[in-house]
Assembly symmetry: C2
């Protein structure tokens, strides 16, 4: 049969954006602007420039760059010729960053000059790298023995490709590394088909199910989740497909972000709570009109306090959830149609939840036997998923891949409840949850409630072995300066008992043991290091 075997390729998203609105604009800070048509030409140049360097199907190309129009070009241009875009996380410890480049076998590294000292230092170890390309925002790039090529000169030195080639849709498109608290970084990878389906399902959800009218062709998009972090949640692909005006902010600097939001009337972003916090706390923020700005929050829990502060400024916030292994979107907090009648306060309670699965996401919350827990908002289980956009495993790591995918479901390691409205709420990480007498007790929940006591500076809760109940919770408390010596177990038990009486937690969750310390051990990214705490306190 002569029929055309249409493959789901990233270029198809780009082609639609160009066709829909060729004159639409893309901006980079206050330094650069161009049209979709011009962007496409540069993607075709990038493809040609890569080919001229001998990059072909499967070649790994590592990128270390801030959020930029160039990164967008690389999102399409590198996978566009069948090569693999390795989005390198510059926040990794240098040794880990080197590990990822070596493990990925990157042959080309394209990096922003801000990372020149780092790359120069690591280069001797990076033996797979054949060529370095420097990105600069300045007129002349800095001198370096690493390379004589900068991105602009490089892509302008070739004739653009006629178009991007057809490839099998299962061609690997991207590679990224994720770090846990233990072990080496793990590589997750996605192919063209997966990213196209992620974009289409994401677009369907954002456009039809989203709140405040959903995403529309009139929206102006600016990512505030770095593009080196799981495809900036895939939204640059969605935004390009539907031809949105796009703003890329470079390195995140509060004043620049705010300036761009206001100048370009940005209406749609996504970020972690910390970035939103930074913006809502910017001096003089009250004088600006942010009432057209929709922001999806992920990466960590959106607290009601932060959500309210943002709401008071007019910002339309809601939560979302996903992880590096899942491309990333799994759920978005979107109000069901009947919730439109609820009062704003109750709506906000739902908009800050983990959310509801988007189309094509088959999400279950299961107990240790792999059975679905009741959808009562109480019973806890691990989130396991099937969607068409999950990493097939960890790159060159069959053992941890097997573990990730046991039983044919991707295990997120997140512990959650689901309520009768179908809303998921994450309550803990599986490794932190305390398994006691057949129940799962959320360490996060206890930590949150303990922090509400006026005398508590910081709290960590871990499970410690218990001969009768397997585990029991132990609370480790840093008291506030003026409460030192005044806090004791009885005070905190009484404090938690109030919440148990209100039904927020079960009585069973209240720890018997409390330890008071000067400070809590932290990991390199500033999270409480429970491994250290467990080593110290696990023996009763």
């Amino acid at each position: 049969m002569p029929t055309y075997d249409y493959q789901l390729l990233l270029k198809r998203l780009l082609e639609h954006g160009i066709r829909w609105y060729p004159e639409q604009k893309i901006y980079y800070r206050d330094q650069w602007e161009y049209t979709y048509t011009e962007m496409y030409q540069r993607v075709l140049r990038l493809g040609a420039a890569l080919k001229a360097l001998g990059v072909g199907v499967g070649t790994k190309v590592g990128v270390i760059e801030w959020d930029s129009h160039r990164y967008l070009e690389m999102y399409f241009g590198i996978p566009g010729i069948g090569a693999v875009l390795h989005t390198i996380n510059p926040r990794l410890a240098p040794a880990d960053l080197a590990y990822t480049v070596i493990h990925a076998e990157d042959e080309i590294i394209i990096f922003h000059e801000d990372f020149l000292p780092l790359v120069e230092k690591l280069a001797p170890q990076l033996t797979s790298v054949r060529k370095y390309i420097l990105i600069t925002d300045k007129e002349t790039p800095p001198e370096t023995p690493l390379t004589d090529l900068d991105y602009e000169t490089w892509i302008n030195s070739v004739m653009p490709l006629e178009d991007l080639p057809d490839l099998p849709e299962t061609t690997q498109a991207t590679l990224a590394y994720t770090t846990g608290t233990t072990g080496k970084p793990k590589g997750v990878s996605f192919n063209h088909r997966q990213l196209v389906l992620h974009s289409l399902a994401g677009a369907s959800a954002l456009g039809i199910l989203g709140d405040n009218g959903g995403l529309t062709k009139y929206d102006v998009y600016m990512p505030l989740t770095p593009m080196f972090h799981v495809h900036a949640w895939g939204v640059p692909y969605v935004s390009t497909m539907v031809g949105l005006k796009q703003i890329y902010p470079g390195r995140y600097e509060p004043q620049m972000l705010l300036k761009l939001i206001l100048t370009h009337k940005v209406t749609f972003s996504h970020c972690v709570p910390t970035i939103l916090q930074m913006i809502v706390n910017a001096p003089g923020i009250e004088q600006y009109d942010l009432s057209n700005w929709k922001v999806i929050i992920g990466g960590a829990r959106l607290t009601k306090g932060l959500a309210k502060r943002a709401r008071d400024l007019g910002i339309k916030v809601s939560a979302g959830y996903g992880m590096s292994e899942t491309a990333p979107i799994l759920t978005l907090a979107m109000l069901k149609p009947y919730m439109a009648e609820w009062d704003e306060e109750k709506q906000l309670d739902y908009l800050i939840k983990t959310g509801v699965p988007i189309p094509l996401v088959d999400l279950r919350i299961v107990n240790e036997a792999g059975e679905d827990v009741p959808h009562d908002g109480q019973e806890k289980g691990e989130i396991v998923v099937r969607t068409p956009w999950l990493t097939p495993g960890y790159y060159k790591d069959p053992e941890r891949s097997e573990q990730l995918w046991r039983g044919g479901w991707l295990h997120t390691g997140d512990v959650a409840v689901m309520d009768q409205h179908g809303f998921v709420q994450i309550v803990d990480r599986l490794k932190d949850v305390i398994k006691s007498g057949g129940e799962w007790i959320s360490s996060l929940e206890l930590e949150n409630l303990l922090s509400l006591h006026p005398g508590v500076q910081e709290a960590a809760v871990i499970g410690v072995p218990d001969p009768q109940w397997d585990e029991r919770p132990l609370a480790i408390i840093v008291p506030k300066e003026d409460y030192k010596g005044k806090l004791d177990a009885e005070v905190l038990k009484d404090h938690l008992k109030k919440y148990a009486d209100e039904g927020v937690i079960t009585k069973w969750a209240i720890p018997e043991r409390y330890e008071f310390v000067e400070s809590l051990p932290k990991t390199s990214v500033g999270k409480i290091d429970k491994k250290v705490l467990r080593a110290e306190f696990a023996q009763a």
Copy 2:
């Protein structure tokens, strides 16, 4: 690797609808209502009932039914177990209808009692059919020697399946027959993957790029294009995926349609111009508020007159385009963001055009050499397409399949222009276009312009062989009663010359020859039969 191989199956759309809004309602006329959850249970019963009859992967199940909740169940339930839903067009001539059942080798026929006399008459020829199932809207089904099973009894006689099975996404899901003016009906078929991608791309377009805020979760959907006609344009699948309230109107009766639109506050429909005409001409229509009703018009050209009439009633109309071979959506008339500033009149001129391709539709307009014509709104060519949802050919008809797909592009047989805004406008069918001196002259355009002369009752334009120019247009005119004997070639040439002076057509398009007749020959579906005209007038 233990990873789950996620296939794009229709059940995934249904599962999302259920998950999103299990209590959402579906209505059938004023006779039936139930929730998505109940619908899903009936889909699972239908699957079990089919299996009990020995229906398996690839078995063809023919359905003759009006638009109903039952048809929606069959949209999911029949392909859901791997069988093929043959949507039978009851408007076919009985001999053609019998041909399609025989050609498809349908083993089961599920039909509405309105078609009982027809089915009883044809049954003796339908030797592949093992079982007939009767659908009735009444308490007791009519007696017939054909069958003792009615749909309700049938699906209630089994235990529902636990869930719909996993299948390869390339499993055939639907089969339908399309008629041309010549030859036997042609079978077009679509698999699960195609229909899922059609739904996702359609949802992305309708939700984000659509006008008046686009499709949202608050919309109420009622099809007005029959479900036996290319999946009711695929919208029942989209609507179910995003959990819309849905209204199925049964047999189209103007009073019932209007009642349902008003009672259920329908906000989203699609239909051919004739149905819209019927509604806007309903007596007393002005007294109703139709200002929340968005209607997409396809199947034939949306004239400005009809669009304005609808607009005056508050209805939000726009055009769309597709065909049986294309699942069907190819284009939708959606305003580009910059057109928001245009005045309403100019916007309407664009909303009634054929439209712009939706995501994943690669659409070209090519001349006879297969080269793209300039996008100048003038030069004509044939629309050829590639999308992931095109029929792989005509069922059991390799010769016409080869013709349809020549050169690896699906040939629509529609002649169109594309303007600088990327809007497609169909101007003719390829078989009717007149090829003269290297130019393509649109017969449709000439017919439209000729009809604007006060003395013209009806006009047909055909190409007749010309030794110098290959073909030249010949106009065949039915004069109005009081103009008989008064119309002549010179009058009509002058009439057309005005439009040539205004640039609406080229001078070259004006026919030299005019024939005046009492009436025009028509096909069985009421279209002008140009084959007959060509046979009569082609010899100069």
